[in-house]
């Protein structure tokens, strides 16, 4: 179990290291990447529930981003797999409930339910993948800054930054607590009972509240006025406009016209069918 904690801890740190990369994509203004991701997700989600073919071209975007930003594909796929159970759990009912045959591939009859289930998995991969790519190319601090520039209240963004800053400290603390517990409880094999759990959590909470007070005093003595100033400067220049405009137009184009059928027809004609 403690390996699970270590794993989650490692994963956040790893995404953060990826965001520290220095590629053209990492250097783009975070607002451009945030808005492009939003257009992407809305375009993908707006397709009908049985759509498969027209979702496939959208993999162009993650492929380009992974390529340009030099991201490790295996790591991202593993993260996707980890969170897939809920969507699979809900989606797997589709084949049971929707048995009407939709496509006949020779002797194989495929029901509408399986088609919509496949579509659901594609949507899941694209949308969740887009969120992971955003964080892996931008980093949390920059996303907070973009949110603030786009009109999010400052109380919220300052609070988000603080949450992120202290996430690592507190997770480290809870890892040390569970490790200490498992070292002292050979018979329980690291399992934590309800009573012990409450004491651990209560202690963690007390330490957290004390820490928050110390943080606040330290911030006040360094002239904290309610806003956090970020030294890094961003500019929404022509590169950003090209990125957002180009991908935005591509997504809308893929959504409004059906390139896939045209292209597929061309190929089928070319091979003489």
């Amino acid at each position: 179990m403690s390996s699970k904690i270590d794993r989650a801890f490692y994963d956040i740190g790893h995404l953060d290291t990826l965001a520290d990369g220095d590629t053209p994509l990492h250097r783009l203004d975070p607002r451009a990447k945030l808005l492009t991701t939003v257009v992407f997700v809305v375009s993908v989600v707006s397709f009908g529930k049985y759509e498969i073919a027209r979702l496939l071209p959208f993999f162009l975007y993650p492929a380009v981003v992974i390529g340009l930003a030099e991201l490790p594909l295996g790591f991202l796929l593993k993260k996707l797999l980890l969170v897939s159970p809920f969507v699979i759990f809900i989606g797997i009912f589709n084949p049971w409930l929707d048995r009407e045959v939709m496509v006949n591939l020779g002797p194989l009859a495929i029901s509408g339910g399986w088609v919509s289930f496949a579509s659901l998995l594609l949507r899941f991969t694209l949308t969740v993948g887009a969120a992971l790519l955003l964080i892996a190319t931008t980093g949390f601090g920059a996303i907070c800054m973009a949110l603030e520039r786009l009109g999010t209240p400052q109380v919220f963004t300052v609070q988000l930054l603080l949450l992120y800053r202290y996430l690592f400290v507190l997770i480290g603390e809870s890892i040390r607590m569970t490790r200490a517990h498992s070292l002292r409880s050979f018979n329980a094999k690291g399992r934590i009972t309800y009573r012990v759990f409450l004491q651990m959590l209560g202690n963690l909470l007390l330490r957290t509240i004390d820490r928050a007070q110390r943080i606040h005093m330290a911030m006040l003595s360094r002239a904290f006025t309610g806003e956090i100033k970020i030294v890094r400067q961003f500019r929404f220049g022509y590169k950003e406009a090209c990125f957002l405009g180009g991908f935005g137009a591509l997504f809308l184009g893929l959504r409004l016209t059906d390139l896939t059928v045209l292209l597929g027809r061309l190929v089928l004609v070319a091979v003489g069918k």
Partner: protein
Amino acid sequence: MHMADALLSPAVGTTMWGAAAATTVYCSAKVRNSLDDRKVPLMGVLAAFVFAAQMINFTIPATGSSGHLGGGLILAILLGPYAAFLAIASVLTVQALFFADGGLLALGCNIINLGIFPCFIAYPLIYKKIVGRQPSSARLMTGSLIAAIAGLQMGAFGVVMETTLSGISSLPFSSFVMMMQPIHLAIGIVEGLVTAGVISFIWQARPEILEKAAADQPIGALPIGKVLVGLALVTAFTGGILSWYASEHPDGLEWSMFKVSGQEKLAATDGLHHTLTGVQGQTAFLPGYGFKSTHEGDSGRLGTSTAGLVGGFMVMLLGVTIGLVLKRRSKGDHSHSHPHDHGHSHPNHHH
């Protein structure tokens, strides 16, 4: 349970986003106007606490499964509704980005499901009424348990409503409700027991923390009604407009496409006309757009779908190739330099 992008329609997603954003703005103004900037670090750090706490699981006897803290109710008790709502929203934002929980469009739904109900209904209307100003362990237990169960039941119902309204899952409303509510009854009981236990611990160790938290929000002074009425109006307004739009035209984008193509058809050459009928044929192939009718020839429809799939796979392959090429090229560019060796600071080292 987190709502997911893949189960959402754009109309439902954007409506919930609007409602979540409006509530965030309102709560931020409330926290700022209370001139209590002491709270901002406390909010951030307590939100981080929820993460850390979720990493510790306890074994539920005789079931083999394990439980942990959800966190909504405990934040409401320690911070009061407005600050707690912001803290929960930030927890969900981090989860959506780093843990891939749900996704960006579903974030609005998740903030409403897991933020509004515990902060503005379960805490003020249930927990506070039961626990009152003089907590006892029995009151803490009953209050937390009922508030946590009620909050999670409403949240689960929210997931069901959003999923059903979106129509991506084929699950009928009734069986989805029958599935979600009992699961969340169990989750709610665990959440209530943990919240009550931790709050009792704090109350015994440092009662002044709870007294201060309770004193910060005078009972009865909360304009919960205003918040709820405002929220209901926003939701009804946007939801009403969007659903009218969605039902009148099965899909807003599809509809605008046909409107555009219809106008173009008047002046269209044969080639363009052919293309557009191809587009229409493809959309008609898709279910929900009259797929299941069989008055057309099967071979034609199958032909279109094959073409679509072939084309789709080709573009996907193209994308993968582009990605690989870009990756190889950029690796070549950087082979002599070490981009990750620069002195970038890492949050890990920033304690």
